[in-house]
Amino acid sequence: MSVTEQVIQPAANIHPIDNLLRADRLPHILCPGCGIGTVIHGYAHAIAASGLPEDQHVCVSGIGCSGRAAGYVNVDSYHTTHGRALPFALGIAVHKPELKVTVISGDGDLASIGGNHLIHAARRNVDMTVICINNFNYGMTGGQVGPTTPIGAKGTTAPDGAIEQPFNLPYLAKATGAVFVARWTILHVREFQDAVLRSMNKKGFGFIEVLAPCPTSFGKSNKIGDGLHEVEIYRQRCQIRHGATNLEEFDIDLIDDTKPIVVGNFVDVERKHFLG
């Protein structure tokens, strides 16, 4: 017989998403001002709004600060290896198509070490939602540049600034076959939540990039100050363009503050999904 313990009954005045968080894992490991908590909050709200029982939601993460997301949501959750969240999630989604599978992971995990899986999952149009938290760097290992670091932005492995062309993730997701593609920031709490819900309610591969501050690593190298400062940058520079088709023009430039950061729900199309 397995050892078991009683579930601790929550107090009377609980927040609507309290049950969706693993309260016994708090406090979390995230830094003050980190954007990842807001993303988890948005995902939990989308679960609550989905109308589906929590038992039918599954969360899969890879490795990194964003990869810890799966550990805080109170649904069946899997914290896998670096880059492999998507094929792991595919195994679940294909074996039990009735489940709502959401992958929450970081830009390095999904677009660098796991980049091949990203384009193939999108191409196959596997029924899942991918929330890619983009904080422009590898936060957990202390602020190295990655495939989303804007040109000129600094990191510990590019002390004079990144020189490589970064991925424009919504453009990549659209080009490789995602049927729902959005970009939001953690400033756009409701829009982000709504995008996650729309993707969950859609059969096929949904990809949502969400820009999030990493004050500890990216912020420090790039003189962005605290998390609030980065959110202020989003506030000043974000432009919403739903349904825009010229995604190739939506690179993110953090140095040139005359350039907008374009956000919105860009793609919402129908295409035969993997098991369809």
Binding site: M1, R25, H79, T80, P87, I92, L99
Partner: protein, 394 residues
């Protein structure tokens, strides 16, 4: 006139999971049929010689049976997908060869750490690197044991015939579930591509052991996904079962939550090793020929054991005191039996023929001071019985 309409009304023959009967079949196909007979319902794989026939047969046979076949983008994805599917309750399977097996190593460690059952067939070819892709090798056996970083227990079978490819694949699925570990079937190119008689028994005679689950309904109380029973194996709940499991490759406590202390780590990793080590006598399998009074013991496995059997029989016909210990599981290694033979004092030496440069020999050398003679080839061809016989006569 033929009644075509009537013919059309005849329902198509229901495909059968278990191909009961006597067949002439290659080892790769027998392995695939063994997986199907064992109830495998998810396959994720990537083409690679000389294992591709396994994927091809499953691609044809599994979907009509209601299972899922997915050709993944690479072996990193194949192993991740089968672990994910198994976490959702599937009996999952992949097949590969050396280069793909190497790519799978990180997530084999994840399967071991998360204790997610899965079965991996590795049809060995001459290695390292791309080596001789279409030719035989037996050089993945230490990788099967030690390939992923860290300590963990595994089970690895090495069939020497198409019949064993079938039988041991069924066993592999049962053991994977019973002990919640990744289990390997280490075929080699010769066994994988040779055709022989394969007898597939009736479905009801095929033993099926499935992983144990929680013994109470979801929501009743908290399920501790990593609280082991007396057999050191915790019951497993799946995605969608309602128990809200958390699984991680990080060191974790009984809830499955990250618990990053040296004490918890030591306890967990010891259990991962011990749950196989302490059940070795139940898991381990070998075949013996004339070992009781043998002065020379030939230890072999896979296709090389076929040559070794021939050589031992010839040598005995010549009156030489020798026997064969054929490994059916290379892991767990039949350490206890070898120690017994040594302690009995009759054995004067061991001979270890293998298509690698001495991987199995190391295992025997660490158990004995007796001479351990080697017969090695780096790969590409079988070892001939004559070469083994010559060494026995020497």
């Amino acid at each position: 006139m033929p009644d075509n309409a009537a013919a059309a009304r005849v329902p198509a023959k229901k495909p059968s999971r278990v191909l009961t009967g006597t067949h002439f079949m290659v080892g790769d196909h027998a392995c695939a049929e063994g997986a199907l007979a064992a109830g495998m319902d998810f396959f994720g794989g990537y083409p690679i010689t000389p294992s591709t026939e396994i994927a091809e047969l499953i691609a044809r046979r599994l979907p009509p049976l209601g299972g899922r076949f997915v050709q993944m983008e690479d072996e990193l994805a194949s192993i991740a997908a089968i672990i994910g599917a198994s976490a959702a309750g599937a009996r999952s399977f992949t097949a590969t060869s050396g280069p793909g097996f190497s790519l799978m190593m990180e997530n084999i460690g994840l399967a071991a750490m998360m204790e997610v059952p899965c079965v991996i067939a590795d049809v060995q070819r001459a290695s390292p690197s791309t080596g001789l892709p279409t030719m035989v090798g037996q050089s993945d056996i230490l990788q099967a044991r030690w390939g992923s970083h860290g300590d963990y227990g595994v089970i690895a079978y090495c069939p020497d015939s198409p019949q064993e490819c079938f039988d041991l694949t069924v066993r592999a699925f049962n053991d994977a579930d019973k002990y919640r570990v990744p289990v390997f079937i280490l075929l080699d190119e010769v066994v994988g591509h040779m055709a022989e008689r394969v007898v597939i028994p009736p479905a009801e005679e095929i033993p099926i052991v499935r992983r144990k689950g929680p013994n109470f309904p979801p929501g009743e109380r908290r399920f501790l996904g990593y609280a082991p029973d007396d057999d050191m194996v915790p019951p497993m709940a799946h995605a969608g079962d309602g128990y809200k499991v958390h699984m991680t490759g990080l060191t974790h406590d009984e809830k499955g939550y990250p618990a990053l202390t040296p004490e918890i780590h030591d306890k967990l990793v010891n259990r991962l090793v011990d749950k196989i080590r302490l059940h070795a006598s139940e898991i381990e399998m070998h075949e013996e020929i004339a070992l009781d009074d043998a002065e020379t013991v030939v230890v072999s496995f896979g296709c090389t054991a076929r040559s070794a059997r021939h050589a031992v029989n010839e040598a005995r016909a010549e009156g030489i005191s020798c026997g064969l210990l054929r490994l059916i599981t290379v892991w767990p290694f039949p350490e206890r039996r070898i120690r017994e033979l040594i302690e009995r004092g009759k054995v004067k030496r061991f001979i270890v023929p293998e298509i690698n440069l001495g991987q199995l020999r190391r295992e025997i050398e660490r158990l004995t001071q007796l001479p351990v003679l080697r017969l090695n080839h780096a790969g590409g061809a079988m070892l001939k019985p004559d070469a083994i016989l010559e060494l026995i006569r020497s």
